[in-house]
Structures are given as structure tokens and as C-alpha cells.
């Protein structure tokens, strides 16, 4: 019941002086808020990275001229690769096809962005994906209607297109698109198929694309662009073997000597995940640093406010002692008060943190998840902040001489 009493006193102090309490608890609020917001967002991105990147195309990897992620992880290596690595050409894809026994499919891929239009309707900033004819086996592209293009159409650089769901529904609402003559940029294409609705990921539509044959792509967008090679391992267990075979084949193709570094990049979803893990770990480390400072500052402020409160209530403490309060009673009273205040800061921080995470995920494509452990961590940490930083003021109160305290003015 002394616990409730202490909580009551703390809550009353909170109500009576909201601004002062808020400032007192700012450290705790900022601390827990950052934990909750960052953990929610990182958790959201984490589950995206793990499910989408790893789940879907886990046995597909890319051979690219440059790994752009290297710009983040190793800028020097990235710049060197930028200067040195030769571009990858269609001939490389054909060369690789029978050099990777562990792969079930090897295909060419290139990507641009353009406007797609039909009569008076158009959609901007659509991903134009150039592909060799194996792409339905490599990409996630189930047909909604029509067909994919054939090898012959690719070889002849035919102007045919398979539409993504959004392009299809925007240009042909309720109409049959097959055989229609659309324009990609300024070039005319015949629609031969449309892909199912693939939903959204990270708040971004996965339906804003058009597939065209790779040779057509190179003809339209310039044959000097470097392309990517997509390799699908026959089985997830063969992924590493396929990577090794592809690396070996590319090195031979480029005539590299044993000591020379690869002049191409292999990007697997595992790469992406480990890159993400690197980034999220450094965010976490920075977070722990910021949060510790906020909480220590918060604790010290809390301690000072409690010390002021002890001084203001010296006479009350003297009275309580005169009426029979033992040291432990007084210690309890002030510790409960400090812990309650601290926890209020924690709860406010948690609420604000989730609000921030929710707002960020509304205005940006970042998803967020509520991690129960982060709530528990926030509450436990603020509980201990109150306990640790409330102990000194509480023991100061408990050790007051009753006679002196009673006559304090």
C-alpha cells in the first residue's frame, strides 16, 4: 500500500506540473523513443530483407559489372572496379550458358526507365526490363493473360512487350490489351501478355514494369550498355557451387591470371542480407550509444529533481518519522516515486516511438514491426533508471534526523 501511495504522489506531481515533469523525463522519453522507433523500423526492413530478398529469389544470383553496394561497404574497391571492370555483353551470356553445370538457367538482363503510353493514356517512370527468353523461369512473373516472348522474337529484336499489372490496368482498364500497339518512349511495341498482380513491397508497387526482349532493349537503349547475367542454381544447395563455376567461367572468359582480382561482381541475396546486417548492426551500435547518453542524462536530471523534492518535503519526512515511519518506509516512498516517474517517461517514450515509426512508414516506403522485446527493454531499462538514480535521494531522505527535519522551514 506504500507502493500505491508513492505512485499516487508521483502521479499527482505529474498532473500538477506537466511541463516540469515532461522536461524531467525528457532523457527517458528520448531514450526509449529512439529505441522503439529505430527497432521498429529496422525490424520492419529486416523482415522485408529476409523474406523478400532471401525467400523469393534465393537460388538466383547476378553477375554484374559492378556491385553498387560496394560503394557503401568498400568505396575504394568500388571506384577501382568502376574504372577497371569491362562491360558485360550478350556474348558473355551465351558463353556462360554451358559453363555452369549447377545452374538450371542462365539469362541476360538489363534495365531502364521510360514512359509507356497507349493512345491518350500514359504511365511514367516504368521499369523497362530487357530479358532473354528464359526469364519466366528466373523471375517471378506468372502470366495473367497472353504469353511470354520466344527465343526467335528475342533474336530478331521484335518489338513485343509483356506488361506489369499496373501498366496493364492503367492503359487498358477493362479492355483486352493483346495485340494493342503501345509506345515505350517513342518506339511502338505490340502487347503479347500481362503479368499477375505482384502486390507491393516496402510500400513500393511491384507492378510497374514492362518486359521486352534483351536484343530489342539493346537496340532501343544502346548496345553499349553493360548487361547483367542472371543465373538460377538448379537447387538452393547448389548455389555456392554455381557461384564458383560462374566465377571460374567468367575469369577464363576475361583471361584473368590466378593472382588477379575478379573484374566482375557476383551479387547473391546472401550478399544483400549480409550487407544489410552490416548496416543494421552499425545503426544499432550508434543507437545504443545515443540511448545510453540520453538515459544517463535523464537519470541525472531525475535524481536532481528527486533531491529537490526531498528538500521541499523535509518537514513532511520529519513528520512521517515522528509518526513511526522507519527508514525503509521513507526509502520505499521515494524509490517508488522515482521509479514511477521514470516509467512514465518510458511509457511516453514508447508511445512516441511507435508514433514516429508509424508516421515514417506512412510517408516513406519503410515498413515497421512492433517488437515486443523492445517494449519490455524500454520498460525494464527505465525501471532500473528510476531505481538507480532514485536510490541516492531516497537514502538521503531516509537518513534525515527527525528533529532537524521536523523544524525545517
Amino acid at each position: 500500500m506504500l507502493i500505491f501511495q508513492g505512485m499516487n504522489i508521483a502521479l499527482r506531481a505529474l498532473r500538477e506540473n506537466k511541463l516540469r515533469t515532461f522536461l524531467t523525463l525528457l532523457g527517458n522519453i528520448v531514450g526509449t523513443m529512439s529505441v522503439i522507433a529505430v527497432v521498429s523500423l529496422i525490424g520492419g526492413i529486416d523482415s522485408y530483407v529476409k523474406e523478400e530478398v532471401a525467400g523469393e529469389g534465393s537460388n538466383v544470383f547476378d553477375i554484374e559489372r559492378i556491385n553498387f553496394f560496394e560503394a557503401i561497404t568498400d568505396l575504394d574497391a568500388f571506384l577501382e572496379a568502376l574504372a577497371r571492370n569491362p562491360r558485360i555483353r550478350l556474348g558473355d551470356v551465351d558463353y556462360l550458358r554451358d559453363k555452369i553445370p549447377s545452374a538450371s538457367y542462365v539469362g541476360a538482363a538489363a534495365r531502364g526507365e521510360d514512359q509507356v503510353s497507349f493512345r491518350d493514356e500514359w504511365v511514367d517512370r516504368i521499369a523497362i526490363k530487357g530479358r532473354s527468353e528464359e526469364y519466366p523461369m528466373i523471375d517471378d512473373a506468372p502470366l495473367f493473360l497472353g504469353r511470354h516472348f520466344s527465343r526467335l522474337e528475342d533474336q530478331k529484336s521484335t518489338n513485343v512487350a509483356v506488361l506489369g499489372w499496373e501498366v496493364y490496368t492503367r492503359l487498358f482498364p477493362g479492355r483486352d490489351p493483346l495485340g494493342a500497339r503501345i509506345k515505350i518512349g517513342r518506339k511502338h511495341f505490340t502487347v503479347i501478355g500481362a503479368v499477375e498482380d505482384l502486390g507491393t513491397v516496402l510500400g513500393e508497387s511491384r507492378n510497374r514494369f514492362v518486359y521486352i526482349p534483351i536484343n530489342t532493349f539493346l537496340k532501343v537503349y544502346g548496345s553499349r550498355t553493360s548487361i547483367d547475367i542472371k543465373v538460377k542454381a538448379a537447387d538452393i544447395t547448389l548455389l555456392q557451387q554455381a557461384v564458383d563455376e560462374a566465377t571460374m567461367a567468367m575469369r577464363i572468359r576475361h583471361g584473368l591470371r590466378p593472382m588477379e582480382e575478379n573484374d566482375f561482381a557476383i551479387v547473391t541475396s546472401e550478399n544483400l542480407i549480409s550487407l544489410w546486417e552490416k548496416i543494421s548492426t552499425s545503426i544499432f551500435n550508434a543507437l545504443i550509444f545515443v540511448v545510453s547518453i540520453a538515459l544517463v542524462v535523464g537519470g541525472v536530471v531525475l535524481m536532481n529533481v528527486m533531491l529537490v523534492s526531498v528538500t521541499e518535503r523535509t518537514k513532511e519526512i520529519g513528520l512521517r518519522k515522528a509518526l513511526g515511519a522507519r527508514k525503509s518506509n521513507i526509502v520505499w516512498q521515494f524509490i517508488v516515486e522515482a521509479v514511477t516517474l521514470s516509467l512514465i517517461g518510458g511509457v511516453l517514450g514508447i508511445l512516441i516511438g511507435f508514433t514516429i515509426a508509424a508516421i515514417i512508414s506512412i510517408i516513406s516506403p519503410l515498413p515497421y514491426v512492433i517488437a515486443p522485446w523492445s517494449i519490455a527493454a524500454g520498460l525494464i531499462v527505465t525501471f532500473f533508471i528510476g531505481l538507480v538514480f532514485g536510490t541516492y535521494p531516497a537514502s538521503k531522505a531516509a537518513n534525515l534526523d527527525p528533529v532537524v527535519a521536523l523544524h525545517y522551514e
Binding site: 512521517r320 515522528a322 509518526l323 522507519r326
Partner: protein, 226 residues
Amino acid sequence: MLIKVSGVKKIYEVGIQKIEAVAGIDLEIERNEYVAIMGPSGSGKSTFMNLLGCLDTPSAGDYWLNGKEVSNLSDDELARIRNREIGFVFQTFNLLPRATAAQNVELPLIYGGIPADERRRRAEEVLESVGLTDRAKHRPNELSGGQRQRVAIARAMVNRPSIILADEPTGNLDSKTGIEIMSLFDKIHQAGNTIVMVTHEKHIAEYTRRVIRLLDGKIESDVRTG
């Protein structure tokens, strides 16, 4: 014998100076006595009351309360004695400003570990005995000075202490209210309680049955009047 004090001293050291606030007092008080302590300012009245009330321990001498030696107990043991054996009434009332009259009265019972329903019952009971049943839910700032002191007296009695100690209980009240409070003390005394009261005023001391005069920390006179 309720109280037996022998050779009790309280010495304050201020710098190199030693002040004998209580300079050797021998005193016995029986159950159901009604004692006034008088004396000029600085004569040691409050200091002696603090010793009687176990708020402070003597520098020398012995103090038996209810047959128990209490002059060198630990802080927590003293707290226990104050809670069980002693009821304090102060000149400035010393009520918790944010608590209601009833909550103020319950405070000693909380520290005595009395369960909530019994606390409520006993608080009601003593508030009734000081004539404040209808003010139980009021806060101190909604009460007059006399009513506040009644609440304080109810609080002093709620634990049924062996002795009630009052340091100038009428000092902050006008004379009419002071007389009301004194007739309340009278009633409490007649109900069998032991009261020791510090006062400056003769007409207040006349309510009591024994007047002890202090001078320079010593008993100057000890006169029974009733």
C-alpha cells in the same frame, strides 16, 4: 511507572562551544497524569520533549518508557516506539496538505501495518471523538486552525499511545479556540490518557494537574495542582 528519567542530558556542540540544552533531569510520570512543562524561551522544553518522544536520544542518562529502557535504541526501534507508544501534537499542526483529514489520521496506522479496513474504522472513530465526523473528507486548507489541531489530536490518539506529547498546541490559535482545544485535552485526559504539554501561558497550564518549570535545562520546580 509510565516514565522514568534519570540524569538525562542533551548536549549540543556548536563549534567549540558546548550547549547543555537539557542539563540533568530526573523525573517520574505516572499513567494518566496531565503535566505542563513551562519555562522561559531556551530553557530546554522542546529538547526535553523530543527526548521524551524518542525523536532524539540523550547524550547521558537513562530513560525508561513503560518499563523499557529506550535511551540507546536503534533508529528503527525508536521509530517503532514512536509509532506504538507516542502521540505527537505540534504547534504548527503538521498535517499533510494534500491528504484529507481521514488520510492524515490514518498515517500512523499505515506505518503500524494495520490493514486498510481497520484503519478506516479507527480513523472514523477518533475523528468522531474530536467532533469532526463531517470533516473527514476535507483537506487541511478547507479547515479552520482549531479544526486542524483537532485532526492532529485525532492522529495522535489513533494508535492508542501510552503518552500524548504536545509542544505548545495552542501557540498558533486564538485564545477562544485555544480554550476549545484545552477542553478537548481535558476530555482525553479523563478518558484515561497520559498527557505532557509544553506551554508558555499560565491559563493554559491551569488546565493541567502538575506543572514542571524548567530553567537552563534543569527542573526549577515541580508542583502538583490537582
